[in-house]
Structure formats: C-alpha cells, structure tokens
C-alpha cells in the first residue's frame, strides 16, 4: 500500500478508536450527574457545573486523537 492510502487509513482509524473511551466516559458522567440531580434537585446548578467540567476533561482525550488525525492528514 502506498503512503497516501496508509495516511488516510491511519487518520480514520486513529479518530475512530480514539472516540471509544471518551464516549463511554462521558456517558458514565452523564449517568452519574442525572442520578445526582434526581436525588437532590436543589443542587442542580452545582452538579451541572461539575459535570461540564468533568466532561471537558474526558473530551480532551478524544481531542488528542483528533489532533493525531489532523496532523496525519495535513502535516505529514
């Protein structure tokens, strides 16, 4: 296989596999947050803020995979 085809394949696979973990992680975060709000509806603001914070951290891992994909497509 020539280098061009390998580059495109690698870019696709990198983002594809890189989105597994963060997807599951963000789902678990949402589950925990919704349960917490169900137990204590008054703390909704606090819980929501913390959830957004944790989601941004989990999403960062997916963004690392995206950066690898972008570098493969546009720089290498």
């Amino acid at each position: 296989m020539d280098a061009e085809a390998m580059k495109m394949l690698a870019a696709g696979i990198s983002m594809g596999f890189g989105a597994f973990g963060p997807g599951i992680g963000i789902g678990i975060l949402g589950y925990g947050a919704v349960q917490a709000v169900a137990r204590n509806p008054e703390a909704r603001g606090q819980i929501f803020t913390n959830m957004i914070f944790a989601i941004a951290l989990a999403e960062a891992v997916a963004i690392y995979a995206l950066v690898v994909s972008i570098i493969l497509l546009f720089v290498v």
Partner: protein, 318 residues
C-alpha cells in the same frame, strides 16, 4: 387590527414569513453546497453562491516581517483581542458609580462570576490571590475564541510573499499560543507552591522522609519496622517521581486540549460550510460558541485547581 397571537409570541404573518425565509435558506444551501453538486450535478449557480473545497492549513501564515520577526495572522488577531479587552474594561470603569449603570453592571457581573469561581474552589484568601491570572486566562481565551467566530472575519484575504492568506485567524488555533499559556500556568502554579510552602514544596516530588526515618529506625534496633519502612520509603520515592512527571505532562495536556478543540472546531466549521453553506453552519456555530466558553472555563479552572493543590497539599498521611 390587533396582533394575533401566533407561535412564539409574534403575530401569525410574521411567523409565516420567518418559516418561509428559513425554508428558502435551507433549500439554497442544500443546492449550492457539496450535497447539491453531488446530487444534481452542475446547476450553474452564480459565483458568490458556490463554495470551493476548503484547504485548512495548520501552521499560521506569515503576513509581514518586523525586522527579522515574522508576524503571523494569528498574532495580528491576538493584538486585536488585546485592544478589544482593554477598551471594553477601560471604557466601562471610567466613571464608576456606587449604583452601576448598564455597562458597568456587565463588567461587574463578569468579574463577579470569575471571582465567585475562584473563591468557590480555592477558598476566600487564596481565591482572591489567584484571581488575577485566572481571570486573565479566562477572558483572553474566550475573547480569542469568539473573535474568530465573527461572521466574515475569515474572508479578508491579503496577498503576501507566499501567496494568498487570511488576514485574521483565531490565535487559539496556532499551537504556540496554547503552549505559551500552558507554560505560564505551570510557572504560576510552581511559584505559588514555593511561595507558600518554601523549599519544602519539593518534598512532594522527592519524598525521602519515610526512607530516612526507617533507616534511623534500623540503626536504633527496630529491624522489622525499619525494613518495612524502607520498602514503603522506596515506593514513596517512585510516587514522587511520577508526580513530577505528571506535573510536566500537564503542560502538554493543557496545550493539546485547547489547540485540539479550537483547531478541530475550525476545520469542522469549514467542512460544514462546504457541505451546506447556511443551514449546517447554524448548529455548529452554536457549538463553537459553547466550546469556546467551556474551553476557557476549563483552562482557567484547572489552573486554579492545581494552584490550590500546590498551596494546600492533600495530606495522605500525618
């Protein structure tokens, strides 16, 4: 005739006009983008309505040189951000009254929000001390992210030595700025750690207390306690080295979190505008606004949290 209550509070004819306009925009955008040209072939749409294939470039294009320093389009946009922020806050706080007018109230609510965030996470005293740099990071990142979203700002094209380039490009998409900001945040955290705890701050990374105390125990004759203490002491040293490594990894993760979110968002917007110009741009524009705000919040809050950990070390034992 009185206004009839239609949907969403506007009168019925107005609602019908709005729906028709949205439908027209949707049809035009689906036809003129990549969807249209692959489904219907060449429709002969006018020049200004067709979108060419985007070529996103990662490194920022140099516009001109001052002496031997190349000035890139991201640097020009960063200067614009600085001017906008300084002007915004200067003109709002010129004639400050005790009962604020509207402009002063906007500034007070922004500052109050960030100060509340600082004091929630770091406590009263340290929250006030950390406020300066946390607020700077937050305001700078969010203004940079939102300025690159102003409609039309990416369309101003100049002719440089290497060819055509955009004049303005959001500075968060240049890898150098997130790296610089991450280094600033790292130095800030270490500075506050050393200032509060003195040189003992470094025992977090080189934790030889347990090892030395257990060697002393060996010499005093307590063999069993001394040996197990040595074992745990060696583990403590390894834990300290891993802490040091994770401090340095923070720089990299800060950099790539901000850079990846902003560059990925820019490329996503380019692709969506290529697919269906006006229609698909709307939800992703909203997403970009939200992502800009959240990334600013995450960067500044993480700096705050790590500074808080540095000044109040989490005591595992004692």
């Amino acid at each position: 005739m009185a206004k009839k209550k239609g949907c969403l509070g506007c009168s019925f004819p107005v609602a019908i006009v709005v729906v028709l306009v949205i439908l027209a925009i949707g049809v035009v955008s689906l036809l003129s983008g990549a969807f249209g040209s692959s489904l219907f072939g060449d429709l002969g749409l006018p020049e200004w309505l067709s979108v060419s294939v985007p070529h996103p470039e990662l490194p920022a294009a140099t516009i001109f040189h001052i002496g031997s320093i190349p000035i890139t389009n991201t640097m020009i946009t960063a200067w614009i951000t600085i001017i906008v922020l300084v002007a915004f806050f200067y003109f709002g706080t010129r004639n400050m009254k005790l009962i604020p007018g509207r402009y002063q109230m906007i500034i007070e609510s922004v500052i109050g929000y960030i100060l509340g965030l600082c004091q929630d996470i770091a406590g009263e005293k340290y929250g006030r001390k950390f406020f300066a740099i946390v607020a700077t990071i937050f305001l700078f990142v969010i203004t940079n992210a939102w300025i690159s979203l102003i409609p039309g700002i990416g369309s101003i094209i100049v002719h440089t030595a290497e060819g055509e380039a955009e004049l303005f490009r959001g500075v968060n998409t240049d890898i150098n700025f997130p790296l610089a900001l991450a280094l600033v945040s790292f130095v800030f955290v270490e500075y506050w750690g050393i200032k509060t705890l003195g040189i003992k701050y470094f025992t977090k990374f080189l934790n030889t207390r347990k090892l030395t105390s257990s060697i002393c125990k060996l010499f005093k004759g307590d063999i069993k306690g001394g040996l197990s203490g040595i074992f745990y002491g060696i583990i403590d040293i390894f834990i300290g080295l891993i802490e040091l490594l994770s401090e340095l990894m923070r720089i990299i993760s800060f950099t790539f979190r901000l850079f990846g979110n902003m560059t990925g968002g820019e490329i996503l917007m380019l692709m969506m505008v290529f697919l269906a110009p006006f229609l698909l741009a709307i939800p992703f524009y909203g997403l970009e606004l939200l992502v800009g705000f959240i990334q600013a919040l995450v960067f500044s809050s993480l700096t705050l949290v790590f500074a808080n950990i540095a000044v109040n070390p989490a005591h595992a034992e004692e």
